[in-house]
């Protein structure tokens, strides 16, 4: 069994919210008491409702969001980094090891820099290389791994299509030789063919460079194809987590079931096998008590006993974790 590279323990992240400067400060709990372990070398998928806290969780793991309670630990080969007690020098080290691939390949690349400079920037900012020759060497190496031609390096980003730009972003994220990558909706802006191509590339680089990914996506069929393990988020909580095949063939939580049933079919005549969720989407500013999904769950009991349930994952089958609700009343 392989080791964990990231442990997230009872992690919560809150943001302040104030209606106007006179009113009382309120808290939005974007991530609520989450526990996950990401195994070294895995392709860990994170899916879920819009606004459920996926980006916030990813950013917290990268040290880009303040942790309110709990902690995140990155297990490097020789030492651990505890993000709650890390000093700024260690944070700089950590930034080399954990990188983000941006969602939007158009916005992420500065139009005034050549592709070479875009890819080289992290090396220069983090002072990883000592000479221009060394930088160029590293840029060329990673560019060819990402299947960019050397002549591309002299060009500016606007000459590239979305797929090529996404390869440039990937090269930039990988040039500092990180071990862990958060890819937040990294293929969402791409058409299906380029998506397939980029996903194949990410997989191949994973093997070559021994990378671990946290892959955030709305596209369930993509997640099903590339991820080894998938966690499903709803309103700040993880409601289900399982190896991909298990999750897609045997979803347990009512929200996961609704998600899987709503994947739009490319057959125009096959319109509605979707489990339609009723009710207002609740707000993270004012989440339901007890089971967070109860206001939209088709199986919620009449007597409202879900209001008093305490949330928490239970292992219903080896490695298949479901929010308690699913066990008691799903």
């Amino acid at each position: 069994m392989s080791k964990n590279i990231v442990s997230v323990n009872n992690l919560s992240v809150s943001f302040d919210y104030q209606e106007n400067f006179l009113s009382k400060k309120q808290k939005i709990k974007a991530v609520n008491n989450i526990n996950i372990k990401i195994k070294k070398g895995s392709f860990f998928g994170l899916v879920g409702e819009s606004g459920s806290g996926k980006t916030t969780l990813g950013r917290a793991i990268l040290g880009a969001n303040k942790i309110s309670t709990g902690n995140v630990i990155f297990h490097d080969d020789d030492r651990d980094y505890d993000l709650t007690s890390i000093n700024s020098k260690e944070m700089k080290e950590y930034r080399k090891k954990a990188q983000l691939i941006f969602q939007d390949p158009y916005a992420a690349l500065s139009p005034r820099m050549t592709v070479r400079d875009i890819i080289a920037e992290p090396l220069e900012v983090m002072k990883i290389t000592n000479s221009r020759e060394e930088t160029d060497e590293k840029v060329r190496e990673i560019a060819s791994k990402c299947r960019l031609n050397l002549e591309h390096l002299r060009r500016y980003p606007h000459a590239f299509s979305g797929g090529q730009r996404q390869r440039i972003s990937i090269a930039r994220a990988l040039v500092s030789n990180p071990k862990f990558i958060v890819a937040d909706e990294s293929v969402a802006a791409l058409d299906v063919s380029i998506q397939a191509d980029i996903l194949n590339l990410l997989k191949q680089l994973q093997n070559e460079l021994n990378l671990t990914y946290l892959f955030i996506s709305h596209d369930l069929s993509v997640v099903a194809h590339v991820c080894d393990i998938v966690a499903v988020m709803y309103l700040g909580h993880i409601v289900e987590m399982a190896p991909s095949r298990d999750l897609f063939s045997n979803p347990r939580h009512p929200y996961t079931k609704a998600l899987l049933s709503s994947i739009p079919s490319i057959d125009p005549e096959n319109k509605s096998k979707a489990i339609e969720l009723e009710g207002e989407i609740p707000s993270a500013m004012n989440p339901p008590s007890g089971c967070v999904f109860r206001t939209r769950c088709p199986h919620a009991s009449q007597d409202g006993k879900e209001e008093n349930i305490e949330m928490g994952l239970e292992e219903v089958e080896p490695d298949h974790w479901v929010d308690r609700c699913g066990v008691s009343c799903g």
Binding site: G162, H225, M285
Partner: protein, 328 residues
Amino acid sequence: MSHLLEINNLDVKFDTDEGRITAIENVSISLDQGKVLGIVGESGSGKSVTAKSIMQLNPGNTIYNDDAEIIIDDENVLKFTSNNDLKKIRGGKVSMIFQEPMASFAPAIKIGHQMIEQLMIHKPLTKKEAKDISIDMLNRVGIADAEKRFNQYAFELSGGMRQRAMIAMALSTMPKLLLADEPTTALDVTIQAQVINLMKDIIKEFNMGVIFITHDLGVIAQVADDVAVMYLGSVVEQGPVNEILKNPMHPYTRGLINALPDINNLDAPLTPIPGNIPSPLDRPNGCVFRTRCPHASKEGKEENIKMGLVEVKPGHWLDKCGVDCGKK
């Protein structure tokens, strides 16, 4: 009856440091009221540029051809110069949902404020009325606690919330023509389904025409009446959505459908269309798809093909190539 929107022979080029880029070549499409035209196609194929041309939102380095027409209500938008004329389309008759929601909200202004402002520019409303309409729209696109979200900045919303706020803003002016550029990419599928249903209701209620740009063929199947498939600035296949998805004829359309990950067969490898999209600086002559087409002839006769759509079945239009050499 005249169409709500008619685009004829549109070419769009951009002047850049590295030379002149052809983003659109010879595109002609039309759209009737109450209809949804889907546009799909590879990144960089010119989908957004087409939509921005209708709104006259392309930047200063844009060059249109002289005989191009974009006709809305019998007026050629490409000939508009005055701000008053442009105001009639932008946010008035035409609304656009942009691909980058972050770019369409000013970072330092609360989203509610922006919604009210843009409504009041185009409709004779009081501030209170504009606020009520905006909050109602935010509720309808599934934003909970809309009154509070109203007072937040765009960066405080999740990606999907920003996108829904933008949909709400675009719909609130009740345009005749809605240009929706990847409007649901940032949404999870349950909310996507809800937002699509809402959009369909509003389209019907107000008899809007819609151009719906997406790379999600599943979404196209669910919302569009017709679909146009674009590759490197050209429409290569077009027709009723049912016909195109069930009976695709252009090698590129087939490649796209084939690249879809199949949720029912996780062992199947992902199959991209082989090769890279050429840079718009080296746009292939003749058939634009020839550098990647599995059926391209050895002798290279596609280099000299003159492109253009041909009606191969009633309503089903195909790039000439498909007729000459697209047979399997």
